[in-house]
Amino acid sequence: MIAYKFLRADGTGVFTRHPWPRPANGTPGAWVEAPLVPCRSGIHACRLADLPLWLGRDLYEVELGGEIAEERTKVVASRGRLLRRIDAWDDAARDAYTRDCADRAHALVRAAGPAFAEWDAVVEPSTAEGPALLGFVAARIAEERDGVEAYHAERARQVAWLAERLGL
């Protein structure tokens, strides 16, 4: 199964700090193996539809193998290896995504009327924190305005943005 994985800039896992063998010169990184126990052990990755929930510094395409469990917002496998770094997820893309989500959040607030004015104040200060937070803020405003389906619709819009920009 092909999925995606965000890593820190130094190539370590966001939560585990595991140093991942990275692909080089077109050759995938070495396989990493771990017993599959969701959220405790295993190779954690995400599907295209999960990307906005896990946005991080560097994005890789990862091949998963062995036992695979598909969770609500992620995939866990007993083995995986990094196939390639998705270079399109660079500073410019991160900034553009952040701006897009901020603009979207402002638009949602404007359309909602004065009762949502306090939400507008959250948007611009959050931009410094980067794309993951702004995606959340936009989706959260949509949810507050129109319910949980609007939250998911906003997340779906973010997925489409990422898929187009990154060529996924």
């Binding site: 929930l53 896990w54 917002t73 959260r140 507050e144």
Partner: protein
């Protein structure tokens, strides 16, 4: 301040309430995923959890014999007094 909580995610307050269960691996997979999604975008909570993890690791390495007797007595007294108040 706008309320950032709903069933699709956890708030900073909930991170504080759930952090022990998270570090002990006692959350369900879905709960743990929501917890980590919050850490992913909230630098403050990420730092908080990281500090707790570091503290637990550090304290876990200290043997009882490594605590100087005066400090040990001071700590015992402080804990006894805390129990009385």
């Amino acid at each position: 301040m706008a309320d950032l909580h709903s069933d699709q995610h956890v708030s900073c307050q909930e991170v504080v309430e759930l952090v022990s269960d998270y570090l002990e691996g006692a959350l369900t997979p879905d709960e743990a995923a929501l917890f980590e999604q919050h850490l992913n975008f909230c630098d403050g909570c990420d730092w908080y959890v990281d500090q707790l993890r570091t503290t637990i690791a550090t304290v876990g390495r200290i043997e009882q014999e490594e605590v100087p007797p005066a400090m040990r007595q001071k700590l015992l007294t402080a804990f006894r007094d805390r129990g009385r108040s």
